[in-house]
C-alpha cells in the first residue's frame, strides 16, 4: 500500500514539475530549429571541383545521380604551352525522388565537389521537380556550413600513423 501511495505522489510530482518547466517544442514554421552538426538535408555541388570522374554516380546505390560531360581543350597553363585536355561537366542531376540520403557520393568524391547542407525545405507537388540540376545543386553551396573543428590531437595522430 505504501508503494502505491508513494508512486501516486511521485507521478503527480513529475507531471507538476514538467508543467512548470518550459516545453521544448519549437514552433516550426515560425521558428527553425538549429540543425545538428553534419545534418543530411540536401547535397550541394561545387561545380569547379568536379572532374566528371563518375565515382559518385557509380557508387550511388539508387542510381539517382546523372552525369554527362565532354572532353575538350583548355588554354595552356604556361605561355606557349600545349593546350590541356580537360573534362567539362555538361549535366549533373540528383533525383531527390530516388535519393536515400546515404551520403556515399559525398564520401567517395576525391575532389571535394559534393557537400552536405542542412536545408530540408525543398518538397515539391510534382515528383519530377525533385530532380535538381547542376545550377540548383550549386545554389545549395551557400547553405553548406563550415566543417566542424577537428578534435584535439586529430592531425598529429594522422601523421604518426603514416
Amino acid at each position: 500500500m505504501r508503494s502505491v501511495t508513494g508512486g501516486f505522489a511521485k507521478g503527480l510530482g513529475i507531471t507538476l514539475k514538467t508543467m512548470l518547466t518550459p516545453a521544448v517544442t519549437v514552433q516550426y514554421p515560425h521558428v527553425k530549429e538549429d540543425p545538428p552538426t553534419r545534418a543530411r538535408g540536401v547535397i550541394a555541388l561545387k561545380e569547379e571541383n568536379c572532374t566528371v570522374c563518375m565515382l559518385c554516380a557509380r557508387q550511388c546505390p539508387d542510381w539517382c545521380i546523372y552525369i554527362e560531360g565532354h572532353k575538350d581543350k583548355a588554354p595552356p597553363r604556361r605561355e606557349g604551352g600545349k593546350p590541356r585536355t580537360v573534362q567539362f561537366l555538361d549535366r549533373f542531376d540528383i533525383d531527390y525522388g530516388l535519393c536515400m540520403y546515404c551520403g556515399i557520393c559525398v564520401e567517395v568524391c576525391p575532389f571535394d565537389a559534393l557537400f552536405w547542407s542542412p536545408e530540408f525545405e525543398y518538397s515539391e507537388t510534382h515528383i519530377a521537380d525533385l530532380l535538381h540540376d547542376k545550377d540548383r545543386l550549386g545554389e545549395w553551396m551557400e547553405t553548406v556550413p563550415e566543417p566542424p573543428a577537428l578534435e584535439a590531437g586529430a592531425e598529429a595522430k594522422k601523421g604518426a600513423k603514416k
Partner: protein, 349 residues
C-alpha cells in the same frame, strides 16, 4: 412588437424561468469550453512537455471553434441494427443531466438559478441520470464494445455514486441543511473554539478533509476519468459506449462529460471550500458582491478542477475488478467512518 416587448412583466414567473433556462443553457457550453481549453489543451500539453494547440488564435484559444465546427459538419451515422431513436436520444439524456446539475449551484449572495431546500440532494440525483443515457447508448448501439462499455459505466457510476453521496453527508451534517446556499452561509459562520480561548474560522475542507478526498475520488470515477476510465478503455473496448457515435451526438457526450466536471468541481468548491464566500470581501447583496462571489467561486472551481485533471493526466488506468473492489471495500467503509466521525465531532464541539 415594441409595445408587446414593453408589456412584458419582468418579474413574471414565466419570464424569470426563461431567463434562468437561457443562462443555464449558456453556462454549460461555456464551462465545457473553459475546461477543455484550459485543462485538456493547455495543462495536459504542458504536463507532457508540449505546447498544445498554438495556431488557431493567440495560443490556440480559438481551437475549440474549429473543433466544434468539425463536429457539427460530420455526418450522423447510426449502425444498421441500432435502435435509432434510443441511439440518438442517449447523448441528449447525458447532456440534460449536466444541464440540470448547473441549476442549483449558487454563484453569489443573491445570484442563483434556483435555491432548492434539497439542493445537494437534487444535484446528486440529477447527476446520476447520466447513467441512464450511458446505458441507453451502450445498448442501442448494437455493438459488443458499446454494450460492455455501457455496462461497465453503469456498474462504475452506481458503485461510486455511493461514496460521493456519503461524502456529501459530512458537510450537510455540519451545516444542518441540504440547500447549497444554506451550506455556503453556514460555512461562512463556521468556526472552531480552541479551549474556549480563540475561535478559528475555516471552510469545511479542514474538518472534512477525508470527505473532500472521498468526494474527489468519487468525482473522478463519476466522470470516467483516468484512473477510472474503464468504460471508454480504448485498448480493450475501442471507445466503449461512445464507439458508434459521430458528429453532434459525440460532441454531446463530450459536453456532458466536461460540463459535469465543471459542475461537480463547483459543487465540491461549494461544499468544502466555502463556495462564493470569501472572508472580508463580500458585504451585502449588491451586484458587485454577486460579481465578486462569482469570481471567487470560479477560482475555487478551477482549483478543484485542476486537482481532478492533474490526477487524470498523471496516473494509468486501473483494472476493472480493482475499480469495483476499491469502491466497495475501501471508499464506502471510509465514507461511513467519515459520517460517524462527523457526528461525533458535531456532538462534542
Amino acid at each position: 412588437l415594441t409595445h408587446a416587448l414593453l408589456a412584458v412583466d419582468l418579474n413574471a414567473y414565466w419570464f424569470q424561468t426563461l431567463v434562468k433556462a437561457v443562462l443555464v443553457l449558456v453556462a454549460v457550453p461555456t464551462a465545457t469550453v473553459i475546461i477543455v481549453q484550459t485543462f485538456m489543451f493547455k495543462v495536459m500539453a504542458h504536463m507532457q512537455s508540449r505546447l498544445g494547440p498554438m495556431e488557431a488564435g493567440p495560443h490556440g484559444s480559438l481551437q475549440l471553434l474549429a473543433d466544434g465546427g468539425k463536429f457539427v459538419q460530420k455526418e450522423l451515422i447510426a449502425p444498421a441494427r441500432a435502435d435509432r431513436r434510443i441511439f440518438f436520444l442517449a447523448p441528449v439524456v447525458v447532456l440534460i443531466s449536466t444541464f440540470l446539475m448547473f441549476v442549483v449551484i449558487p454563484i453569489g449572495p443573491t445570484a442563483y438559478a434556483e435555491n432548492l431546500d434539497t439542493g445537494i440532494f437534487y444535484a446528486m440525483g440529477v447527476s446520476s441520470i447520466s447513467v441512464l443515457g450511458v446505458l441507453m447508448a451502450g445498448w442501442a448501439s448494437a455493438n459488443k464494445y458499446s454494450l460492455i462499455g455501457g455496462l461497465r459505466a453503469a456498474g462504475q457510476l452506481i458503485a461510486y455514486e455511493l461514496p460521493l453521496v456519503l461524502a456529501v453527508v459530512g458537510p450537510v451534517m455540519m451545516a444542518g441543511t441540504l440547500s447549497l446556499q444554506g451550506i455556503v452561509k453556514a460555512q461562512a459562520d463556521f468556526h472552531i473554539n480552541v479551549f474556549g480561548a480563540a475561535s478559528i474560522r475555516m471552510p469545511y475542507v479542514f474538518p472534512q478533509i477525508l470527505g473532500f478526498l472521498l468526494f474527489l475520488v468519487g468525482t473522478q470515477a463519476e466522470l470516467t476519468q483516468t484512473p477510472f476510465d474503464m468504460p471508454v478503455a480504448e485498448s480493450e473496448l475501442v471507445a466503449g459506449y461512445q464507439t458508434e457515435y459521430t458528429g453532434l451526438p459525440f460532441l454531446f457526450f463530450y459536453m456532458g462529460e466536461f460540463g459535469a466536471s465543471f459542475g461537480l468541481s463547483a459543487i465540491a468548491a461549494t461544499l468544502f471550500l466555502g463556495g462564493w464566500y470569501v472572508p472580508g470581501l463580500i458585504h451585502g447583496h449588491s451586484l458587485i458582491a454577486n460579481l465578486i462571489g462569482f469570481a471567487v467561486l470560479f477560482a475555487k472551481t478551477m482549483a478543484v478542477a485542476f486537482l481532478i485533471f492533474w490526477i487524470r493526466f498523471s496516473v494509468p488506468r486501473l483494472r476493472e475488478d480493482q475499480l469495483q473492489s476499491f469502491a466497495w471495500k475501501v471508499l464506502i467503509p471510509l465514507s461511513l467512518v467519515n459520517i460517524a466521525l462527523t457526528g461525533l465531532f458535531k456532538v462534542v464541539f
